[in-house]
Symmetry: C2
Subunit: 709 residues, 2 copies
């Protein structure tokens, strides 16, 4: 495989050829050439068709080899069977990019043909977009190489879509909503070029201010995470992913994987990357329309200005839902708004100008808010009243919007009423001013802006890595492999924990009764005893566990009872000994797990631990590595956090130790290629300064071929 071509010339081609250019206007191959020419593509266009002749004023070449020019992009819209030979011709011509419009490949099970296509392209330094796409639009190249609608408003929003049908419909929708596009790329089957390639281009593209991605599935999750992380630190990324329902959940061997549906993990990871996830199309389009023009807020304080109490309370509810913070300095509110609020109005936030408010009152109040440096954004609500001077509403909003843009303060308007209100909304939308008929939609846009703005400000602090003797772990795993196992026995897992610096109760494995007594006295009473056997999985069920043994005689009785129970219930089980360990005092029980996810690579789970983790379902997820702040965020997202803070008069628990265990597990999963899953459950956490102990540790290895379950 030769080096990948820079994605630049896919979006900024100097020359475009269309293989399958057609003379019949109802064919895709006609529509495509027509769109390219009629939208004024600045470079050269070369229609290719064995019939030759002329098409829309351009000479038609019968073969690509005849084109007297270098070609950056070839669009292919010929039957599936003829695509591979066409790609061979393109290779000879040293084409850079192939946009394969044609469908009938992996999406209908024709995987082999698609694989060959990519192989051939790569071998010849070409890259493929598609197959099974509707094309590509790029505003800077004035290129509409799609068979969708011709008129696309140029602007600063880039759209990447995995669905063709939705993509074409989105072109219409953006035109209707006056959303200008910098690029629109259909990625189809993603045989080669995928969202990550495009994000890497778009993050640097000066014409693109915001990126929307419609996604159905991810192939290379780790690369996608990197691309999203880089992009979302520069520009808002709005993502819609369908397939939230349970049917798509990944099967997984350990709790860490099975605790949540695949969508929960996906959702956690893209939020960690700073992506704004929209539940549906309506929401996504509201957000991009707003984010495409809104300035970043300089602080967290929002003022709500309303002419009705009820709608004001609704906006307050919406602010809580979408994490928009209300300005609550009563003195500041009074100073800013008292001149424009009647006595029977309200000077608390929401500020109620009352039903008597006219456009000029809104204008004055909003201007006053603009001058208050402690108010960083505003939400204006207007209920159509019998009194309101409707004709002044539109110019007032237009002017205010300009003033706010100049001062770099975001604002949203929600207006609710009948036909006149609807007209006002339409005429403002025509001008690209985002006004919403629904309060929740308006607030959700501001919430998305704040989420992006907070992500831009957040700085991660990565903890100093701990020094772990990896060679000792490799040796341990070598022995397990020699024993033809892909899981560690309890005492091996404890050994691994010890090497990795994860605190576990003192444990020794006794091979006979004398050792058992000796070890028990060495560890100190009370102790716990457990059978050690690879053949016995549910140790309690066969009477293989004894708790809270207080003295020598109880240890003797328990030792004999355990062996007898196991031998009578599972006579074939190979018994390696009996494990003696320290009996732990109660504390807060957590689960911390790290695993190599098939799609997203190393991920971590944190939550409430114990026997019933699946029932309690109190877990947060992140892709690794994570810094300290993100680990704290993981903890804070769970109910376990409250327990760690100490409730009902209890002392605060040892959070530093919890963070340390998280960090050590993270390093293990990242640095040990042979470990696929490592999970501590429960980690029993004590008071501050008293540490934590891993009561049970499960370690699974990657399968011998090195893959991940």
């Amino acid at each position: 495989m030769t080096e990948k071509a820079d994605i630049k010339y896919l979006l900024e081609p100097r020359t475009v050829a269309v293989i399958g250019a057609s003379h019949s206007p109802d064919k895709i191959g006609y529509k495509l050439v027509e769109n390219i020419i009629s939208t004024g593509f600045a470079g050269s266009v070369y229609p290719i068709n064995p019939q030759g002749g002329e098409l829309l004023g351009k000479k038609v070449y019968s073969r690509i080899s005849e084109v007297p020019d270098e070609i950056d992009l070839v669009c292919i819209c010929i039957p599936a069977k003829t695509v591979l030979p066409a790609i061979k011709e393109c290779a000879l011509k040293s084409v850079k990019f192939l946009a394969v419009i044609t469908s009938g490949f992996s999406e209908v099970g024709n995987i082999e043909e698609e694989r060959k296509m990519v192989e051939l392209a790569r071998e010849n330094g070409m890259r493929i977009l598609g197959p099974n796409i509707f094309g590509i639009f790029s505003a800077c190249a004035r290129l509409n190489a799609t068979f969708g609608p011709r008129d696309i408003l140029p602007g600063n929003v880039a759209i990447i879509t995995q669905s063709g049908a939705l993509g074409i419909a989105m072109i219409g929708k953006t035109a209707l909503e006056r959303i200008g596009l910098s690029a629109m790329v259909s990625v189809g089957n993603k045989a080669d070029i995928d969202e990550s390639d495009l994000l890497e281009y778009l993050v640097k593209d000066k014409n693109t201010r915001i990126i929307m991605v419609y996604l159905e599935g991810v192939k290379d999750g780790q690369r996608f995470i990197s691309a999203l992380k880089l992009t979302a630190k520069k520009k808002p990324v709005v993502l819609i992913k369908s397939g939230r329902s349970k049917r798509g959940a990944l099967a997984a061997a350990s709790h860490t994987g099975s605790l949540a549906g695949a969508d929960d993990i996906f959702d956690a990871i893209i939020r960690q990357c700073g992506v704004l996830r929209a539940e549906n199309l309506g929401c996504a389009f509201n957000w991009i329309r707003f984010l495409a023009q809104a300035p970043l807020p300089q602080g967290e304080n929002t003022a709500i200005i309303t002419n009705g109490g009820g709608i004001g309370v609704m906006a307050t509810d919406a602010c809580e839902k979408y994490k928009v913070n209300l300005y609550d300095d009563l003195e500041g509110l009074r100073e800013t708004f008292s001149k424009y609020t009647p006595a029977f109005g309200s000077l608390k936030n929401p500020v109620d100008l009352t039903g008597q408010a006219k456009a000029s009152d809104y204008s004055s109040a909003l201007n006053s808010a603009l001058k208050n440096p402690d108010i960083h954004s505003t939400i204006s609500l207007y209920c159509e009243t019998a009194m309101f001077d409707y004709e002044n509403l539109v110019p007032m909003i237009e002017q205010t919007q300009k003033d706010y843009l100049n001062q770099k303060k975001p604002l949203v308007f929600a207006v609710f009423g009948g036909a006149k209100t609807e007209q006002a909304i339409s005429s403002l939308r025509e001008k690209g001013i985002p006004v919403f008929p629904e309060v929740y939609d308006a607030v959700s846009c501001l919430g998305a802006l704040y989420a992006h703005s907070r992500h831009l400000r957040a700085e991660e602090e990565f903890l100093e890595p701990y020094s772990i003797e990896l060679n000792r772990i490799e040796q341990l795993i070598y022995e397990v492999r020699n024993d033809r196992r892909s899981f560690l026995l309890a005492h091996e897992a404890k050994k691994l924990a010890e090497i990795a610096g994860i605190p576990a109760p003192a444990t020794l494995v006794a091979r006979n009764l004398d050792q058992a007594i000796k070890f028990a006295e060495q560890i100190g009473y009370p102790v716990v005893m457990k059978i050690v056997s690879r053949d016995i999985i549910h140790k309690s069920d066969v009477g293989g566990v004894a708790l809270n043994l207080l003295n020598r005689s109880e240890v003797i009785d328990a030792y004999e009872a355990i062996l007898q129970n196991c031998r009578s219930i599972q006579p074939d089980a190979k018994i390696e000994g009996v494990e003696i360990s320290e009996m732990l005092q109660p504390g807060v029980e957590l689960i911390i797990g790290a695993r190599k996810d098939k799609i997203f690579g190393p991920v971590m789970a944190f939550g409430s631990g114990g026997k019933y983790v699946e029932v309690i379902k109190d877990v947060s997820f992140r892709a690794l590595p994570v810094g300290k702040k993100e680990m704290m965020a993981m903890i804070e997202e769970t109910r376990a956090y409250t327990l760690l803070l100490g409730v009902r008069g209890e002392e605060k628990k040892d959070l530093d130790k919890v963070l340390e265990v998280m960090q050590r597990l993270s390093e293990l999963i990242i640095r040990c290629p042979e470990i696929s899953d490592i999970e501590v459950n429960p980690l029993v956490v004590y008071e501050y300064g008293k540490g934590a102990k891993a009561l049970d540790i499960r370690v699974l290895l990657t399968n011998p071929e090195g893959g991940v379950k």
Copy 2:
């Protein structure tokens, strides 16, 4: 107070007078008379103004006493100070209803004047709507006695609104959305007439098919619950309540109250009543527009028909969210749709007709679905494609809608695209056909219809009441009252539980060491010992508890230790003895609480119990009484349900016993006026047939005046 007048003549008045009728067109008193006359009110209108004269062709009377007719409804729009004298005049005239438009009463703190107004009205057999309202509209009386927009489309939706500003705006919105109204009532301060009065009328009103309520607060919660229950069993009730945020949470003394914000309880109760709660206005209007015309589905199976895979998956996600069940008979799907689906489409549900589908394909597929008796509703999705014959879309949807209505099958359409799609939506909306640009909105409407339909079908089965010796409980409470307490000591609460038939561990209170030993042997080892003192609240903290005492000598040691600890730490505490009780085996721990809520009357909480209930936050709520199904639903809503079913190889737990305890607590709170709160936490539940035990019971009494905290 005389008997309340029937609400009928408020909505169907034969005569209306307007006190404050004005000659200036910019006054409310003019607008009101103008609206009444111009919308063709069938009865007589009497404008009242001391100046007399003529207004809009009607004679103006200078006083109400001069009107030569009986008057059903008087609208009052004069300054606040003059309202009370006007009501006195109305009383002399034996008016039935007063709609007090005037504001400036309790909403600005003028509570006394409002109270007097109601008192005066009631004494004279009159009832008041308002004050602080915009008026009332009633389609059957052709009465628009509001100062809002004149043109209101008559129809089958009734709206009750607490917010005036929103209400007026809603009139405009309904006209815009072609939603016809049967009634629109502004309830304002609800000094007298409230939502419950109106629901009682509307449930019987043959012109009203669906009721929408906008609510900010509830006064008489118990009556509201009754009215909602009755109404929602006949007609869909869509409710919007603002003030979901935490600030509105009720303060409460026990877990049952404090476990959730007030809105959680409100939300649970209105759902229990069968009410459809909309989060915001947009959602509410979508629902009423759809419910006003949709037939009830005859079963749970829905088919999704689409021309794009991506949007189909989105609809599947939305169906999971809004509890719409997909038809999944593969054979049935094939038979119904194979004729209209190309080979590369999909015959699973969602049925993908592919981007090549024309209007006629949709029409055929939908008609085929109509003929399949196992498909009870359909969701059609359409992405605007380059191929679609747009001009046939509107007539196809129109015709299909008619066919489905005739066969009583509900259907929804979601269409996504550009300007042409938008035009199609507008033209269909004009005709009252609900078509949505957003898939989630379409599915949410169908979900609301299904929720209503399920509620109509659900039949509640109330359990036979248990016989409880209430006189013994009264005696016990009498003794507590005599001791000037409003809470029961632990042994008293156990006594109460015993009388009420709630199983508790065997418990005896020892007054001296000999008794302690005797009782311990009587109960059987191991036992638990606890100090009994009204002065010691946190018994563990002062060393007042000893667990797992195995024999006589441990009981002796513990008895002495407990007394010594308590005496040294709280020397002033009055010690009543030491409680000896059975040491319980572990089981599933629940919390079950019943209390008299200040607003909603008797309510019950059920959930995961134990020390950390506030952290675990796994509780469901209902208003009492509840039948068996509703109790099961309460249990199933919590994660505790999974534990009761038995996880990780455990046996199923004794659900019948849990239901019995719920029922007994319910009876106690309903039948004992003196108990304000009774809470069992934990109720330890064992395997099926082995029952449950209430480990701790807290009982609080109503305060001596009989009120509830």
